[in-house]
Every structure is written in C-alpha cells, then in structure tokens.
Amino acid sequence: MLLIYSILPAALLHNFPCSGVIFSLFLIKQSDSYLSATFLCLAAIRYICCLTQQILNLLYTMKRFMKHPLGIIALLSVVLITSCSKDSAEPDPSMGYIQLASGFAAGTSTHVEVYATDSAFTGYNKLYILLKDSVTGKPVDNAAVLLNPMMAMMSMSHSSPKENPVSNIAVNHFFPCSVSFIMPSTAGTWTLGVQIQNLENGKSGTASFTINVKDPFYAKMFSFKSLADNSTTYFVGYAEPSKPIVGINDLELVIYKKESMMLFPADSSLSVMVTPEMPTMNHGSPNNVDPVHVINGHYKGKVNFTMTGLWRLNLKLKSGTTVVDSTHYIDLTF
C-alpha cells in the first residue's frame, strides 16, 4: 500500500504535475484498494505513452546529435569499439558491387579488377577499380589510373565520355571513376583500357577488357544536336538518385559535349530545367530544384517523388536564353 502511495504520485507527476497532485489527493481521500489498483493501471498506461514519446524524442534528438561533429565522433567511437575494423581486400559483397571484368595489366605485376553497382549499361556508369599486387594479393592503394573506353564498329571506332579517378590514392582500396557508354554492345565491341602506373612498385602498363554494355529498360542517357547551331552534339546522362525514395531526392545529371570521335569533354555551359511527371497519372510533384552545374559536367538539384511507380523527368536545356533541346526525358521506376 505504501508502495502504491509513494510510486503513484511520482509516476503521474513524472510528466503531468497537475494530474499527479490531484490524483494523489484523490487517493488519500478515497483510501480504497480498488481505486489504487486502477490508478496503478492508469499510471502504467501513462508510462507507456510517455515512454513511447520519450523514445521517439530520443530518436529525433539522436538524429540532430548526428549533425554535430562531436556527436559523430562519439558515435564513430562506439562503432569502432563494437566492430573491430577488418582490413579486407575483397570488396564487401554487402555493398552490392559486382565485378565487370578482371585481368592482369601486363608488366606491372598488378591485377586489375573493375567493379560497378550494376552490370554495364548505356549511360553513366560509376566504376570502381581495385588493384592488387599479383604476388602478395594485397590491394594497391597508390596508383595513377587512366581509362580508355573504345567502341570498335565495322569500319570505324570511337571513344565515350569518361572520368578518370581524381586522385592517385584509393578510397577504401577502390579508385572511383566513370564511363558513359553512349551505345550498347549490339552496335560493336566495347573495350575498356585501364592504364595504370603502380606508384608502389613504379611499374606501368595497361589492362584491356571487353565490356558487354546493354541498353537499360528505360534509357539513362540521350544525345541531341543543339538547336542553337544545329551541329554540336551533347550527351546527357542520369547519375542520381540511383535508389529513389518517395520524398526529396538528390538529382544529379552529367552533360558531355562531343568534340571529336575521341574527345567528349564535360560541359558546364548549359542550364537545365527538370519537370517530373507520372506519365500514367499525368501529374507532377512540388518543390523541385533545377540542377545547376557543380563540377566536371555534373549538374545537381533536387527531384521530389510523391509516390512509387514510373516517373518521367522531362528535360529542357538552354544555352543562355536559347533552348537547345526540349524533346527528351528520362524515365525511372521504383
């Protein structure tokens, strides 16, 4: 009995002082065991509700905490303590990488492996190059890597837009880079040359792989001739979101200009307007942010999806005030 009388007011006072005071007064007035028992139930419910609320608040606070540098350090230290850092040379299969090709770069004592998150497709492909010392099998984290994609057709050949690794130092053993295959392998044969300079053993050489490039179900890249001069050819590729969600998504497009069969430099001169639409529903979404050029032909903005399903990004590209293309779109589904 004493327990009930001491716990209950405290329990109720916990979050709602007024009710606690009144209830406790009330209990003393009544001095009835049934009443006390029911109050215990009520208090329990109160607690459950409060607890739920507290947990929700805690989660919310944690989220904010994460934004603070000290918070991240604290969290990281927890992560480090709980998970012993394993130094694995193999790509973590849980990261969803798949191997597109592998082989030796002649004369470098280095094994070259090419990874991606998806099999190669027509469009902007993010690639991850892993170099391994052919004797020890240990990853080579210090190397200069240059890509040379080449399409061999019946009578001619051409290259494609590409991004070499920005640094000679690997990120988590991988050299991130990209190739924008501008047509599928049905038109000819794609060869990816990976020229490396192993800065750990000082040897240089090239590995060459045949890559099978397929057209995705929904095109991820298109090209157009500028309406301004009716001659310049641009390539526009879809980079992000690779995993769209219902909500705000970071939108990233890449734009390249064709200067010659071998030269596809990044373009930063265009302005892009994106209008998302659900073609089957004929509606759009609010509060999108048109992508603007950030670096190396990458244009970043926001695209909002209000539901899952098939979405179409209608694109309008301008050079200054002149519309250079407004007929193309990129479809995606999730």
Binding site: Y34, L35, L42, I45, R46, C49, I248, P286, M307, L310
Partner: protein, 673 residues
C-alpha cells in the same frame, strides 16, 4: 438551461405498466442535454440526484443510430452514402467537434471520413447521447462541442434473471434486412449484456424511382458488456464492442469500402454511491483499433484501380470525479490521456508497371494529455454559476522515416507538432420562474488541427474535387463563443430557444494552390489547409413540445445556421432552415405517429468549394406501432412509410447531389422475453 431531454423509449409509452422509466436520470450535469434512447430500467441506475423531466421523442425500432442522431436539433449529418453519415455539431466540422463512444476517443481509419465513430454503435447498444455545445470539459479541446454516445449496459437484479429480445425487419427502399438479438443476465452482483445486429441493404431507390448505384452495405455489430459489483459503492465494468462492415457503397465518392472492422474494448471502475465528498468517480482505460479498406474494385470506367487501406489505433484512459464542497458548491474534475496512431496509404495499379504507392496519412502518432475542471456554485435559489476550464497538451509526431521522407516533398514541413491548448467558459443560469429560465454561456476554446489538416498527403475531396495537402505550420483555431438559452414550461407547453454566435480565429480551410499539380486524375487542383483570419458561425435552435394529455404529443424543432468567412463569403456546408414536427397519438396498445420535415432552399453557397444550391423540400412519414403479449412475453410491431409522397429530395449537407431514399415501407417485429 437546456431543459429538453428526448427519449425514444417507446415501449414505456405504449405499455402503461412500464411508466416508471420516465423517472430515469441522465448522469450528467444540467447543462448537457441527454437523449435517452433504449428501454432503460430503473434498478441500478436511478441513483443520480440530477433529476430531469423527460419528454419523449421517438424513433422506430428499425432506425439506425444515424436516423436518431439526425433528429437532434444540435446535430447535422454530412451524407456521402446511405450508411456512414458523419454527425457534426451545428455547422462546425468534425475536426472542430468531438465524437466519443462512452468517453473513449476513437479516430476513424479513413482519410475520406467514411467511418465516423457513430457507425460502430447500433441503437440497441446505445443508451444515451450527451451533447455539449458549450465548451467540452468531458471530451477535450474542441471549439464546436462534443457528442458522447453512451453505451447501454446491463442492470443488476437481486433475483438473477435472464432476459432478451430478437427482432427482425425489412425496409423496401433498399431491399434491406435488419436483424438483432440481445441476451442479458441480471444478477445481484454480476450483470451481463450481449447483443448482435446484422444489416444488409441493396442499392436504394430514391424518390421518383431512380436506383442509386453503389449505395449498398452490409454490417455485423456484436458486443458484450459486463458489470460486476465489487462492493456497495464500487462497480467494475468491461465493454467489448466489435463491428464488421463489408461492401459498403459510397455513391457520392469515387470509392467504396471493401471491409471495415472496429475492435473497441474498455475497462472501468466507478463509484455511484452518491455519498461522501467525492462522487461519481469513474476510472477507465480503453483501447480501440480500426482497419479500413477502401477500393474502387466495383466501379466502372475507372482510369486506374486503386486500394486505399487505413488503420487507426488508440489507447487511453481517464479519471473523473466530482468533489462536493458543500451543498451549493461542487467541482468536477477530469484528467485524461490518449495516444492515437494513424496510417493510411494508396496503391494504384497500372498493367506492366510497378505499383504506385504512397502514404496518404504518413504514419503519425498523437499523444494527448488533458485536465479539465468545472466549478459550479449555486448563488441563490434562482441562479447558478459555472466556471469551467481545460488544458490540453498535444504532441503529434511522424513515426517512420518513410513518412518523414515523403512529407518532406511539401514545402518546409516539420515532423513534430506540439501545442498547448487552453479552454475556459463561464456559464450563468437564472430561473425567473417555472415559465422562464435563462442560461448564458461565454467561452473561449482552442482545438488541435487534425492529422489530415497537418499531414494529409493529396487527399481527394469529392465534394469540391480538389486534392488536399496538409500544413504542419497551422496555428490552432481558437473560438470566442456566446450562447443564450431560454426555456420553460407552461401548462401543456414546453419550449426552448437557443441562440449562439461564435468567432473562430485562424479558421482552417483549404486554399487553392495554383502552383501545385494534382495527384488524382481529373481533380480540379490542389488545396492546402491554411489559416484564414477568422470566420463567424451563428445560429438558433427552437423546440416546442405540446402534451395535452398522456396519449397525445406534438414535438416541433427548428434550426437555423449562418456562417461566413473574414471576407463575408458564405462558409460551405451550412444547412438552411429545417423544421421537424412529430405528432403521436396513442390508441390503446397502438400508436400512430405522423412526421413532417420541412427545409427551405439554400442558395447561399461557397463557390470556391464548388458547393451547389439545394432546393426546398417537404417530406412526410407515417409510423404505426403495436405492442402486445404472446405466451407471457411481450412483442411489438413497428411499421410505417417514410417519405410518404415519394419526394425526390436531398438535404444541403448531402454530397454529390444524390437524392435520398424515396418511399420506404418498413416493418419490424420485436419479441422480448
């Protein structure tokens, strides 16, 4: 003071031996009108000191809860289907008023308000209806008032007896069947009541003969209530109420309900001894869960089929008691808390594509804690002063990352909405003499925006054809309200006249957003819930009861409402003047009742809400009742014709311009043992 108390306990009218039921009391304060419905026995209940003279208003045994609620002058029904009408107090929206079942908060699981809590209560498990039009001490922070549907309960009997009834009926307009069964056990410490009712209706025939497609429904409602007397002062009560509805058509909406189920449970303890300083103490914990599946599977010419399931779960409890300070002064206290989880989603199917899925109510939880007090003081033999106050703490949160991500698409939403709401009211009543009693109320109240208003995500409103999106930056509405009531009794006449006016600041209404693209195919545009500077609502209700002798009654009620926004535009959903008359004559074991409903036209409409005008109408009903005895048990027959002259008509609050049922011949047979 509101003197009118309506009663539908027709049995007692018809059988003189049951006349003691007239003296049943409502367990309420004087300011709350009580509608006493079922045959209520006196045994365990008539302990209350607040005696009120009861007058009778009838609804037949075949009526639904909605039919009964529609007859109360303070209530209007928003109709989207032949079943599942939404009761609203005066012209306040459902978000502005509270609808409770036996003090329990219950939130519909449908984003389109297809399932107001009233659909879960059948007339046979409804004991009374408490309507509070002032400030809602009992129900929470509301600006329009509250309706509490009190559940029927078993009664104690020293001898321990079994009783029950079965009833079967048919209604012609919708080819509808209505079957009920009830079994009670009344012991001296334990009393149990079980009941079941089943309804099935086809598409109904409207006045003039047109059949309204998608107006069918089927439902099963069953429950058990047990009372256990712990000691002479304390009684424990357990309620379990279950309701399953299926294939419910909503002709005014583009979708129907495949299945809707409610599970409602409560445990309570109460002290009705009427002695001591603390009286009428009640402690209750409850839980309810609703699942609702809306789809358009049976609709023709739909561009794309969709499913819209929703769910609602509420847990809560309250403690209330009355502190009797002295014979003239008392303090009613109530503390309550509840937690409501809501989630609703939409999935559309297009062949050859991945399904289109989104949350229409992003998962959200509302935690509410409130404390209310009513201080009443009898100043002298003629005047009473009541001061009531209530504070509510609301905390609404989005509970999942998916919900937060999705809502982030809208302009700068916040995930957590915390509001502290304050309400206060002052009531003064003065009794000049038996013939004239005056009551005046002045109140200030606030209300929490609903989950739809805060978090709703492209909810299609079939009334104006716009998609509605929520706004987490809404300011709670607050209202200043004045109400005056004059009532009295003179000879065979009893009258009541109420006038009210309120100014609602930060009035929440959907405002057209031209920059946003619609979600629903064919929608007119997107509206976002926004605060208008203010709106005014006013109105009046009058009632007159004439009772020349015990065999003849005339009841007449009239109501009128007016509403305008800050720019003097008409508010939508304001009903015109409506007058209902009922004349009942008893002839031996029979009763004949004639009813007349009159409504004027409503041409003052809100064009932005695509509201259409409504024509005046007059309809008449004729009802006959007979009670008799059969093998020592009693039975009764209810029969009659509703909409006698088969008028094609609709009320102003009916959505979609759909006519109401035409001539409806009904017959209900009830056997009691």
């Amino acid at each position: 003071m509101k003197q009118l108390i309506f009663m539908a306990a027709l049995v007692h009218l018809l059988v003189p031996g049951h006349a003691q039921a007239k003296h049943i009391t409502g367990k309420t304060t004087d300011s709350i009108p009580v509608v006493q419905l079922e045959e209520v026995k006196v045994y365990g209940l008539a302990k209350n000191t607040n005696q009120q003279l009861l007058h009778y208003y009838t609804a037949n045994q075949a009526a639904t809860t909605e039919d009964i609620l529609a007859r109360l002058p303070e209530l209007n029904m928003i109709r989207r289907s032949s079943y599942g009408m939404e009761p609203v107090i005066r012209t306040y929206s459902s978000g502005q008023s509270g609808l409770l079942i036996d003090g329990m908060r219950i939130h519909g699981a449908c984003t389109d308000k297809m399932d107001p809590a009233s659909i879960y209560v059948e007339p046979q498990n409804l004991q009374s209806v408490q309507i509070q039009t002032g400030h809602g001490f009992q129900s929470g922070s509301v600006i329009g008032g509250s309706v509490d549907l009190k559940l029927a309960e078993a009664v104690f009997n020293d001898s321990g007896k079994w009783s029950g009834s079965v009833s079967s009926g048919y209604q012609s307009a919708a080819n509808a069947w209505y079957e009920t069964g009830k079994l009670n056990y009344s012991g001296n410490r334990l009393a149990v009541m079980t009941n079941i009712s089943w309804r099935k209706a086809g598409n109904y025939r409207s006045g003039g003969g047109a059949v309204i497609p998608y107006s069918q429904y089927g439902k099963l409602n069953y429950g058990v209530t047990a009372l256990y007397k712990l000691n002479p002062n304390w009684t424990a009560k357990a309620d379990l109420l279950l309701d399953d509805g299926w294939n419910i058509g909503y002709p005014a909406l583009p979708m129907d309900v495949g299945y809707a189920g409610a599970r409602i449970a409560a445990l309570s303890l109460r002290n009705e001894s009427g002695r001591g300083r603390w009286q009428q103490t009640e402690l209750k914990i409850y839980a309810n869960a609703i699942r609702h599946f809306m789809d358009d599977a049976h609709r023709l010419n739909v561009p794309m089929h969709m499913d819209m399931p929703g769910e609602s779960r509420t847990y809560g409890g309250y403690a209330s008691s009355r502190l009797v300070i002295n014979s003239n002064t008392q303090l009613d206290l109530k503390a309550d808390l509840s937690s409501t989880f809501l989630k609703a989603s939409m999935t559309m199917y297009q062949q050859g594509q991945s399904p289109m899925y989104m949350l229409t109510w992003p998962d959200n939880n509302t935690l509410q804690t409130g404390l209310g007090a009513v201080f009443s003081k009898r100043i002298n033999s003629a005047s009473v002063l009541m001061l009531s106050a209530r504070a509510d703490l609301f905390s609404k949160v989005l509970t999942t990352q998916t919900a937060k991500d999705q809502l982030s698409v809208l302009n700068k939403p916040v995930n957590n909405v915390n509001r502290f709401l304050k309400n206060i009211s002052l009531e003064y009543s003065y009794r000049f003499n038996d013939r004239v009693k005056l009551k005046t109320v002045l109140s200030y109240s606030e209300r929490m925006p609903t989950s739809s208003e805060l978090y709703g995500f492209y909810l299609f409103n079939a009334f104006d054809g716009y998609d509605y999106i929520g706004n987490t930056l809404l300011i709670p509405e607050n209202a200043w309200k004045a109400e005056a009531n004059i009532s009295g009794k003179s000879g065979i006449f009893q009258y009541g006249l109420t006038g009210y006016v309120s100014r609602i600041n930060n009035y929440i209404m959907g405002i057209y957003q031209p920059g946003l693209s619609t979600m629903t195919i064919g929608a007119n545009g997107v509206k976002q819930h926004s605060n208008l500077p203010y709106a005014m609502i006013a109105g009046a209700e009058a009632s007159l009861i004439v009772q020349p002798d015990h065999a003849l009654w005339l009841i007449n009620t009239t109501r009128y409402s007016y509403g305008e926004d800050h720019a003097h535009n008409a508010l939508p959903m304001i009903p015109p003047v409506k007058n209902t008359s009922s004349l009942r004559k008893m002839i031996g074991p029979c009763a004949v009742q004639a009813e007349l409903e009159l409504a004027t036209a409503q041409n003052r409409v809100n064009s932005k809400a695509m509201e259409r005008t409504t024509a005046a109408y007059a309809i008449a009903h004729l009802r006959l009742m007979y009670s008799g005895a059969l093998a020592g048990n009693s039975f009764r027959i209810d029969g009659g014709v509703e909409n006698l002259f088969d008028q094609a008509y609709r009320e102003h609050l009916d959505w979609g311009g759909i006519h109401r049922p035409g001539r409806n011949i009904y017959l209900q047979f009830t056997f009691q043992f």
